[in-house]
Amino acid sequence: MTVVNPQDYAGLQPAWCPGCGNFGILSALKKALVDLNIPPYNLLVVSGIGQAGKLPHYMKCNTFNSLHGRAVPVAIGAKIANHDLTVIAVGGDGDGYAEGGNHWIHAMRRNHDITYMVHNNQIYALTKGQASPTSDTGFITKTTPEGSPPQINPLALAIASDASFVARGFAGDVDHLAGLIKQAITHKGFALLDILQPCVSFNHVNTYEWYSKRVYKLDEEKKYNPADKIMAFNKSMEWGDRIPIGIFYHKERPVFEKSLKALRNIALVKQPVEPARIQKLMTDFY
């Protein structure tokens, strides 16, 4: 059996700002992949556009760096065509929750077997500091000089959409995040992993220090049960002095890729092209 080492995933030199939260996410992802012993050739990372979208270039694996907001549908198509691939979609909060919001909601509903990691820095960083759908209410940016409108709650939205795995991690806690990534990848179905990611250049409010003071781990809460949807929903509303991280909601339910007759046996890409098979369909038109 192949043994995967950290250097197998060594990619190009990142062009992120020094101290960027993305470094912690990249480290956690590589750690999870090594721990799960997934070789780079069995992994596909699909990304969108934004600083997070550059992530697959900084590791080494099958990569499709897609358009802004479109990582999820590309990932879904790739997974359906070859369900033997481990497929991870990555992007930022603007990419996933604004431009790609519709794709994200419906992907959760259909329960495709992919992992979606959203690097949530509450700001548009690649375009140098505009409001994001998760920017704090009233947050002043160059495009919202009178304050950002109320933010969306991605976790509550995911639970309402019956996403089968909903979790939040923190880029400042690599080991904990790597654990969540491992569980998201091994989960059968759509896994949303929202990751609190400090932006050192454009978000001077939601900093490492700001998050570190507030985050606490759900798995240390004795009474918390991620199978309980109402409890999960209530927990997803908590934001302010205390911010929970960990698995909010977890439910096993039918996976899209397992529900189709064409995918029941071997991967679609391995099935032969046989033009002569339509002969019998032609008789319907006589």
């Binding site: 556009i49 990569t63 990932a75 070859n82 007759k261 679609l268 033009p275 038109f285 006589y286």
Partner: protein, 572 residues
């Protein structure tokens, strides 16, 4: 005299116009006739005015006629609207309770449609089958063939029994009451088995023959039946059909599936294609093959959602920002839909580009009799694969390697240990994001280089009639049938004219096309749009001077008569 029987069935939405029309068309096709049928309907579920036109000939036909021999008028409006177009010997069939004032004005065979249905079939709702029977009774059509078609159409034994009885009642009634000798000799028709199918069905069969294993599409008229047909057969044909949240997702899923290595497609209309255009560029940039079927309707915006137009040509040729190669096809009739769809998949994979198939509402929903497709002629070209000796060399595979043809050997994820890396950002040969000017220039040139060979793979326009003539009628796509018939009629009138028809539109082999059209003849381009898009494309690519445009943009298809009239108006 050559057979040319023209039937129109008219009524409200929900009255069964389509069912009557389809059963009649299928019965004539089964007898061995050449059949063409088109549909005209409003964007509503009930009410309004819909009609179904059928032409039955003993030679190939794919155009509508403005004259009617038999009119089935299911309501008053149908009689008022269509009866004035009845030929001198033409007859309308209407219910016996139809307004007597109207009945007096035209030649009407009044049939107790509802009463016969209630009396003979025990169900008033089967009046449509009485009407079908009446048409066939007037013509002395072989009732057993008709009964066979009804049987296949209704499937459930109870419905089959009732509808055959109803048809028989209408048939006998017309035989007794209609005493004129039939104008049409159906007795000499040879029994040849042909398919009767519409453009959508033909595209779907073509896609399945080509090995399309993934269709992601959002419902939109006129292309929705392609989704439904492929979905119905998906399980048996190892195909996945998915209806995503919108057209943007549809094309991205298709691109993702193609990246993993399956032939994939999306189908839509102009509005949906408008939403997809950014991803057309993604396909071009990442060199990921994808086939897009764009069933044009009368735009812009929602326009006339159930009507036809050839108004998206230049949009398809130019869709998406930036510069990259693509191919655009526009099939002429149902058979062409099949073969061009297969070719679209081959070109998409050979050149690793997006390929757009432009159908339109008219082509997509019209029925054509077609010889059975010879599947031994289906050729599958999956393009240039990664060489065997490259497999397993993890770090060496370059998805976008620069080659003399511009085509990079293609690997698939998990096919080997080679990693497949691609990017919508400008990238180097390895697929990683770059910014430098030199790499940018080399990669743009590499992608555009593919056009050289692609252009050679595009078939030249087909010339119908003599190779040279004083006048060339030029057309593209679905207007073929009307143009071809118009050209034939004009030649009978002594005009020196031929038809030069394009179905492989882009990239245009400019020099060869210019040579074919010559310099000293008059060229008239006919197209179903308001601005002469193809004429402009032809002129800009070849420098050929266009003598005149024949345009139609009322949402309705060309008729041969319309083309003849307009052309004659422009001739000196």
């Amino acid at each position: 005299m050559a057979l040319d029987l023209r039937i129109v069935v008219g009524g409200e939405a929900g009255q069964g116009v389509q069912t009557i029309g389809f059963i009649l068309a299928k019965a004539f096709a089964r007898l061995g006739c050449h059949v063409f049928a088109d549909q005209d309907y409003e964007s509503r579920i009930r009410g309004g005015h819909n009609f179904f036109r059928i032409r039955v000939r003993d030679s190939q036909v794919c155009a509508v006629s403005e004259v009617i021999d038999i009119l089935v008028a299911l309501n008053k409006e149908s009689l008022t609207l269509h009866a004035p177009k009845l030929d001198g010997k033409g007859v309308a069939i209407a219910d016996i309770n139809m307004d007597p004032e109207l009945v007096r004005q035209y030649t009407v065979l009044a049939v107790p449609l509802n009463d016969l249905a209630a009396e003979k079939a025990g169900n008033k709702l089967m009046a449509n089958s009485v009407a079908i029977g009446a048409v066939m009774g007037m013509l002395g059509f072989d009732f057993e063939i008709l009964a066979g078609v009804i049987k296949d159409f209704f499937e459930s034994p109870a419905k089959v029994e009732g509808n055959v009885k109803a048809a028989r009642a209408g048939y006998d009634y017309a035989r007794q009451r209609y005493d004129r000798s039939p104008n049409y000799d159906l007795g000499s028709i040879m029994r040849i088995e042909r398919m009767l199918l519409n453009g959508n069905e033909s595209v779907a069969l073509g896609a399945m023959a080509a090995g399309c294993k993934f269709l992601s599409a959002y419902p939109m008229t006129p292309s929705t039946p392609i989704i439904e047909y492929m979905a119905a057969n998906a399980g048996d044909f190892a195909t996945v059909v998915i209806q995503p949240e919108d057209e943007i997702a549809a094309i991205h899923m298709a691109i993702g599936a193609a990246y993993s290595g399956v032939r994939s497609m999306t189908v839509t209309s102009g509005g949906g294609f408008s939403l997809m255009v950014e991803a057309v560029g993604l396909s071009g940039m990442t060199e990921t093959p994808v086939v897009i079927v764009e069933g044009q309707r009368a735009g812009p915006a929602i326009g006339l959602p159930t009507r036809t137009e050839q108004g998206d040509l230049l949009f398809a040729v130019n869709a998406s920002h930036g510069e990259f190669p693509r191919a655009v096809f526009a099939p002429s009739a149902a058979e062409d839909c099949f073969w061009l769809t297969i070719k679209a998949f081959n070109m998409a994979e050979k050149y690793q580009i997006p390929v757009i198939i432009l159908t339109d509402h008219y082509l997509a929903t019209s029925y054509f009799t077609t010889e059975k497709f010879d599947l031994t002629g289906v050729y599958i070209d999956r393009g240039l694969p990664m060489a065997e000796d490259e497999m397993g060399k993890l770090s060496e595979y370059k998805r976008h390697r620069i080659t003399p043809s511009g085509i990079s050997p293609r690997a698939l994820p998990m096919q080997s240990h080679a990693l497949v890396v691609t990017d919508s950002d400008e990238h180097n040969e390895a697929g990683h994001i770059i910014e430098d000017a030199e790499t940018r220039s080399r990669m743009v040139a590499k992608r555009l280089k593919k056009l050289d060979a692609l252009r050679k793979d595009m078939a030249l326009p087909h010339v119908y009639g003599p190779k040279t003539s004083a006048i060339s009628l030029v057309g593209w796509g679905s207007s073929f049938g009307a143009l071809h018939e118009a050209m034939g009629l004009l030649r009978q009138q002594g005009l020196s004219i031929n038809l030069v028809h394009f179905t492989e539109i882009w990239p245009l082999p400019a020099q060869e096309t210019a040579d074919l059209l010559g310099v000293d003849r008059k060229i008239y381009v006919a197209e179903n749009n308001a601005t002469g898009q193809f004429a402009r494309l032809l002129n800009s690519e070849t420098g050929i001077k266009i003598s005149g445009n024949i345009l139609k943009y009322d949402g309705r298809p060309f008729t041969p008569q319309y083309i003849i009239e307009r052309l004659k108006g422009m001739l000196p």
